[in-house]
């Protein structure tokens, strides 16, 4: 795999929109062509080469391309837009809309990622070593089509509405997760390894959310079903036991919430509904 290295020449203050930073765009191009590609810095068109030092080489097809970004690009938006193959590595923080509409390949960020990570993603793999913002794997405003496939892993904390309108795929969050994980979820799997601020699965119609920490309570529109010993996340069997809830009944939903018994003593009252 051929490496293309992009090194930001300075810390950007004004947002940069650079959805050309993707293996699909750079494949088969020369360094010169990359440098001359126009991107937006605020309301001005600038050459990519004026904001990034560009070196290395390109593969001839997207799957042969690795883009390495060395430095903080937290103001750069749209990296990996619609990418179908290949890899992007960000050594630092990445900006909003990372991996939007991604269809394949992988994106790895050593720092944090902004909001709308993996919006409408269809396939591929995103891994964030730090924290992520709001609406991970979500939809565009007003739309109902969230992530449809692939996997997103967040090692740090995550903002609100992770997996909003999600239709398939897997999101795994290792740190704390803010409100509304899996809101309007239609299918797929979300695993919250630490815990959540609550309102998990609001409006969900299907899919499953597994919470290994404290879930932050359960909404009144979910009904307690049973206690299960394990929860399935893809091929993996996660040991419990878990309180299992179904809902959101307000949406005639068939979704499932799994809250690990050990971390959710505040949900113990549900045990009164267990058949003796």
């Amino acid at each position: 795999m051929a490496d293309l290295v992009l090194a930001p020449v300075r810390q950007f203050k004004i947002p940069v929109t650079a959805d050309c930073i993707s293996p699909d765009f750079i494949a088969g191009k020369s360094l010169r062509e990359i440098e001359l590609t126009e991107i937006w810095e605020g309301n001005r068109r600038v050459k990519l080469g004026s904001l990034f030092k560009v070196h290395g080489e390109m593969g001839s097809t997207p799957k042969d391309c690795l883009i390495r970004i060395t430095g903080n690009v937290s103001s750069v938006r749209g990296i990996g837009y619609r990418m179908t193959a290949g890899a992007i590595e960000v050594d630092g923080d990445a900006g909003m809309y990372l991996g939007e509409r991604m269809r394949g390949g992988s994106v790895v960020v050593t720092g944090n990622a902004g909001s709308w990570l993996g919006t409408q993603m269809r396939d591929g793999r995103i891994e964030i070593k730090g924290n992520a913002g709001d609406s991970v794997g979500g939809s565009v405003r007003g739309g109902t089509k969230g992530m449809r496939g692939g996997t997103i892993t967040i090692h740090g904390e995550c903002g609100t509405e992770a997996g909003a309108w999600m239709r398939n795929g897997t999101i795994r969050i290792k740190g704390n997760c803010d409100l509304y994980a899996g809101i309007h979820m239609k299918n797929g799997t979300i695993v919250l390894e630490k815990g959540s601020a609550g309102r998990v699965g609001a409006h969900m119609t299907n899919g499953r959310i597994i919470v290994l920490g404290n879930m932050g309570g359960v909404l009144p529109s979910f009904q307690f079903e049973e206690i299960r010993q394990t929860a399935k996340a893809g091929d993996e069997k996660i040991p419990g036991p878990f309180y299992v809830f179904s809902g959101d009944v307000n949406e005639e939903g068939q979704g499932r919430l799994f809250a690990r018994v050990a971390d959710n003593s505040d949900l113990k009252w549900n045990e009164r509904y267990l058949e003796k």
Binding site: I14, N43, R77, G142, L179, P220, N250
Partner: protein, 435 residues
């Protein structure tokens, strides 16, 4: 000069659109204002307080008086040179001025955001997910036998709301207070709550849970918790029954939903509840919009750009995504490099982190009166007061457009927002070498 009484004057404070004011004046000064609420009277009789009499320019750290020509030139240069300017405010000016603002934002390539962003922006985001079953205020007056105020306190914020449109109004099918029930849901026993037939006090940040429970109760689903939001389950079910059993219900809600935990999801839940209620009865929901033309800012922005607020025009076409393209987020991240503020005071009202970054960029402000924002500006351009000193279109809470009128003359030499913005647009075009 002789005294004149102007009748049917439209109030430009809140968005209730009271249009029955009687203003006594001599063409320059207002001596009294009748029929309005206490705020309205204060507004109409205090036009001369705190006014800015001349354009101001900052030189050597101090604001000094200048001419409109020089102020507009400086304003145009600041905006023209900016790479990520934010044009903010717009809820206390006319639709005609907002229209000019959008033209200017498109011209210089900026973000144009109105104060909806920190008032009922989350309501609009909720509407974008579920829609909205609503009506004009007169419909509530004629038909509603159940009125709910949720997270709002109209006795303070919209003082004539109850008398003109709800419990104390006289409509075709509901004549008196006895014909209507009032329910208030709030975290405090507000002055509005004191009028209620039923007051439901909830814990802060739990509106979402209660709304969700009401939807479930309405669907006949069993709720397994004993209490929700600090409210006993029986009360929740009773309230759900009350809502389902009325002939025409009206739910008014305020910033209690939009500003607390959940924000646009709270409003989404309220909108969904009212939508669901229409399967069993007739129900409408109306957000209690604040400023007299904040709705107009949404309307104009929407018909011109497709989006109601937080519109990013930096790349030559409209983009909308609050959280990214909204003023407070942009300033909190420290991205903008200039600001135009029209008829608003963000230095006072933005949270500290956003205000700090706003104070770090050159600000052009257009306002009739002195505020912390004008004090911190590079350029201050004084303007006439809409609906008192200059005419213009404004939109009521429910989207009814009214033509606010000119009652008295502005102070000598003071121009309208439309004239000022138009002059800035012309100047920017000239700087760009275009006609």
């Amino acid at each position: 000069m002789s005294k004149t009484i102007s009748e049917n004057v439209i109030c430009t404070f809140c968005a209730s659109g009271c249009d029955d004011l009687e203003i006594t004046h001599n063409g320059r000064d207002i001596s009294s204002a009748r029929n309005g609420c206490a705020i309205s009277v204060s507004r109409f009789t205090s036009t001369k307080q705190s006014r800015i009499s001349r354009p101001l320019l900052r030189t050597k750290e101090r604001l000094r008086e200048t001419t409109y020509l020089k102020a507009i030139d400086r304003a145009a240069r600041i905006l023209n040179n900016a790479r990520y300017p934010v044009l903010y405010g717009w809820s206390q000016t006319s639709s005609e001025a907002i229209s000019k603002g959008i033209e200017l934002a498109e011209l210089v390539g900026g973000i144009i955001d109105n104060t909806t962003t920190s008032c009922h922006g989350p309501t609009i985001l909720g509407v974008q997910d579920v829609g909205e079953a609503t009506c004009t205020l007169g419909e509530v007056r004629h038909s509603a036998d159940l009125v709910i105020y949720w997270g709002c306190n109209p006795i303070h914020s919209h003082p004539h709301h109850t008398t003109r449109f709800t419990i104390f109004s006289k409509g075709r099918f509901r004549k008196t207070r006895k014909d209507r029930k009032l329910v208030v849901v709030d975290v405090r026993r507000t002055d509005t709550a004191k009028l209620a037939d039923r007051f439901i006090q909830i814990q802060p940040n739990t509106d979402y849970e209660l709304l969700t429970a009401l939807r479930a109760a309405l669907k006949g689903e069993e709720i397994e918790q004993d209490s929700v939001a600090g409210v006993p389950l029986e009360t929740v079910e009773e309230l759900a029954d009350m809502m389902a059993d009325c002939e025409f219900g009206a739910l008014f809600f305020g910033l209690g939903l939009t500003m607390s935990a959940g924000k646009h999801r709270n409003t989404e839940a309220a909108l969904a509840l009212v939508r669901d209620l229409n399967y069993v009865t007739k129900f409408a929901i109306i957000p209690m919009r604040g400023w007299f033309n904040v709705r107009g800012a949404n309307e104009v922005s929407t018909w011109q750009t497709g989006y109601p607020y937080a519109v990013d025009l930096t790349q030559g076409y409209p983009r909308f995504n609050p959280g990214d393209t909204s003023a407070i987020d942009a300033f909190t991240r420290g991205e903008p490099d200039a600001a135009l503020v029209v008829a608003s005071d963000p230095v006072s009202h933005f949270p500290k982190a956003a205000a700090r970054n706003l104070l770090g960029v050159p600000i052009v402000s257009v306002d009739p009166k002195r505020t912390p924002t004008t004090e911190a500006s590079e350029v201050v351009i004084p303007s006439a007061i809409i609906g008192i000193e200059t005419a213009g279109t404004i939109y009521r809470i429910d989207g009814v457009a009214l033509e606010a009128r000119k009652v008295i003359h502005p102070p000598p030499g003071i121009r309208s927002d439309v004239e000022i913005l138009d002059a800035i647009i012309k100047r920017v075009k000239a700087l760009r070498g275009r006609r």
